[in-house]
């Protein structure tokens, strides 16, 4: 009798192991996504500028996803860390060194340094409170940057940023060739790291907190400390996004700290869907392309149509893109209907380019 039970248990354990192995495995859709992103470098040399902007936007959204999608903190103040990262790397290039990788590191540190104390302000209160506190912190930093014009250049923007060639070889050209490759690689590394983090015990404890903070504390998870940790990590991400912006544009204005930046980041993430890391990418891609298309059709009134799209999007259900991706992903992983699969892949390929 024991052996029957044991047999059953070992069968279960096998099943459990198979579930576990599924985690962290790259789906075909994911791989395809990256292949297309890399291919875009070769095939669309004229679009590198907007692609760079999309990638930086996506990193900002990714940093918000870490706190919102994985820990359930809504924020309208991610620009605080983004902007501080941008200024940190800009100032570094002016006063110390123009080496880009050092700039990224310093910016990550600066972002984390701002995020850490801020996170303690977010431990209490509901959605609205958190929105307003983060917004307030970003607004205060914006004002400080405005006042400290001796350091930041104030409203005129920080002048004189000069970034050394990457690895001493690759100049940041005005076509964005280096910029796109560079930011794409950074995005890839950050996403890889985020994948590790979200699949780690730490990452799962965040998901637990997001889903049910009451139960999370009842199974022994130190909720507050985890929130502080992830907010700080997200601050580092946002800081890196800011530094990438500085380095690829070689210019910073106060807008890096603006409410608009935070709101756009949140909006893009929400459009793309939270809690699966790629939401920011999908959202940034869709948002930028739509905005670009609309504003070239009607430069003065594109906001009208963007607004209409947003409303339609919410009313018809925000889960749609996520569901679509899931179903595409499922179909690609189990290619049973070759005829239909082709259609899907083709349609999919058309989109992100």
């Amino acid at each position: 009798m024991m052996s029957v039970r044991e047999k059953r248990q070992s069968a279960t354990a096998e099943a459990v192991r198979s579930v576990m192995k599924r985690h962290g495995r790259w789906s075909r859709l994911e791989i395809g996504f990256w292949l297309i992103a890399v291919a875009a470098w070769f095939l669309l040399p004229g679009e590198h500028l907007i692609l760079t902007e999309i990638v930086i936007f996506a990193i900002l959204a990714l940093s918000i996803d870490l706190v919102l999608g994985y820990a359930g903190i809504v924020t309208l103040g991610q620009a605080a860390m983004y902007g501080v990262g941008a200024y940190a790397s800009g100032l570094l290039s002016i006063h110390v060194t123009g080496e880009p990788l050092t700039g990224l590191l310093v910016a990550a540190l600066a972002g984390a340094l701002i995020a850490f104390p801020t996170s303690f302000l977010l431990l209490r209160g509901a959605d609205l409170t958190r929105l307003m506190v983060t917004l307030g912190v970003a607004a205060v930093l914006h004002e400080i940057a405005n006042q400290a014009s001796w350091l930041t250049g104030g409203a005129d923007g920080l002048q004189g940023i000069a970034i050394d060639p990457l690895f001493g070889t690759f100049e940041f050209d005005i076509y964005g060739h280096t910029g796109y490759a560079y930011s794409l690689v950074v995005l890839f590394i950050l996403l890889l790291l985020a994948r590790f983090v979200t699949a780690s015990p730490f990452g799962y404890s965040l998901k637990a907190i997001r889903d049910n903070p009451l139960r999370a504390s009842a199974v022994g998870i130190p909720v507050k400390a985890r929130l502080v940790a992830v907010y700080t990590l997200s601050g580092a991400y946002a800081g890196i996004a800011g530094a990438l912006f500085t380095q690829t544009q070689q210019f910073i204005s106060l807008d890096v700290l603006s409410f608009q930046k935070s709101a756009d980041g949140l909006m893009v993430l929400v459009i793309g869907g939270t809690g699966y890391l790629y939401g920011g990418l999908v959202g940034a891609l869709a948002y930028e392309l739509i905005q670009d298309a609309l504003s070239s059709v009607t430069p003065q009134y594109w906001q009208f149509w963007l607004g209409a799209l947003l409303i339609a999007f919410v009313i018809t259900g925000r889960d749609r893109p996520r569901q679509l991706i899931n179903s595409i992903s499922a179909r690609i992983s189990r290619p049973r209907q070759p005829g239909r699969l082709d259609a899907v892949t083709v349609a999919d390929k058309g989109k992100p380019t």
């Binding site: 209490r124 409170t129 307003m132 459009i271 003065q300 009208f304 607004g307 209409a308 409303i311 999007f313």
Partner: protein
């Protein structure tokens, strides 16, 4: 000094009329309506259009601004907002931002992007002095009108059946329905009135706050601050928060002009850290 206080009071009262509708929306339906400022803008444009282009007396345009935006608010509630009550805050934020975009671009298209300048009738211009305090006629008018509105709102809330039904719905929506209060109707009406008040506030404020298509974006943050600092459990909270904000803003800019932009945000963060649900929230 007292002149300044009075200015701050007027400014605060204006903020209150502008944002009280939002407080009710948030408290009653737990709905984050970032498009509240769009209604204020609509009211402002109604007034400017009527006084400047069609020569309608300013005072007459005020109730019209209220009515027009209230009707617009009511219609939008029935057509769109009601679909979003059950959705998440993020959906609501995205949706109402979409509305703001439409409003901004739509007004730009219809009215042009320039600042609209309201021509006040002569009797609201100028200044008088009472006991050594110089008081602007229009600011005095604002204080009186907004004060009366605040009192009227308080009376409606406190002494009418509608008011008590509204408070009951905010207190406990479930039980309210269970004792026969039509919460949905109450909400639609409240939403319309709140929008109307925003419209009226926009009309009154066009003179002081300025009016251009970016109005809803510029002032969205102010409304949210009033609501989050004041809390949503009563009208007193937002009123006190508005006046506090108005006075602090004016005094701050007078005495420490260089800190002008900071003050409200520092107050905001401080209040919310100490009292996450606002100054006047009930102890949970």
């Amino acid at each position: 000094m007292l002149t300044l206080l009075f200015d701050g009071l007027a400014y605060g009262m204006l903020l209150f009329v502008l944002s009280c509708g939002l407080a009710v929306t948030l408290g009653l339906m737990n709905f984050i309506n970032l498009a509240h400022g769009a209604f204020a803008m609509a009211g402002g444009y109604v007034t400017v259009l009527m006084t400047n282009r069609w020569g309608v007396p300013f005072l007459l345009t005020l109730p019209i601004a209220f009515m027009v935006t209230a009707i617009a608010g009511g219609l939008l509630e029935k057509a769109l907002y009601c679909r979003l009550y059950d959705k998440t805050h993020l959906d609501q934020v995205l949706f109402s931002i979409g509305l703001v975009f439409i409003a901004v671009a739509g007004v730009d298209y219809l009215m042009g992007s320039q600042q609209q300048i309201l021509n006040l009738p002569d009797f609201l211009r100028g200044r008088f002095t009472v006991g050594g305090i110089g008081i602007g006629v229009y600011r005095a008018f604002l204080v009186v009108v907004c004060g009366l509105l605040a009192i009227a709102l308080q009376l409606i809330l406190a002494h009418t059946r509608f008011g008590s039904r509204l408070r009951a719905s905010v207190d406990d929506r479930r039980v309210a329905r269970g004792v026969g209060i039509r919460v949905n109707v109450i909400f639609a009406v409240t939403f319309a009135i709140g929008s109307g008040l925003a419209g009226l506030g926009g009309a009154l404020g066009a003179e002081i706050l300025g009016l251009d298509p970016t109005f809803p974006l510029k002032f969205m943050v102010y409304f949210l601050i009033v609501v989050s600092v004041g809390g949503t459990s009563s009208m007193t909270g937002p009123l006190v928060a508005s006046i506090l904000l108005g006075v602090a803003d004016v005094l701050g800019k007078y005495y420490v002009p260089s800190l002008g932009g900071f003050i409200i945000y520092i107050v905001l963060v401080a209040v919310l850290v100490l009292r996450p649900h606002g100054l006047f929230s009930r102890a949970a």
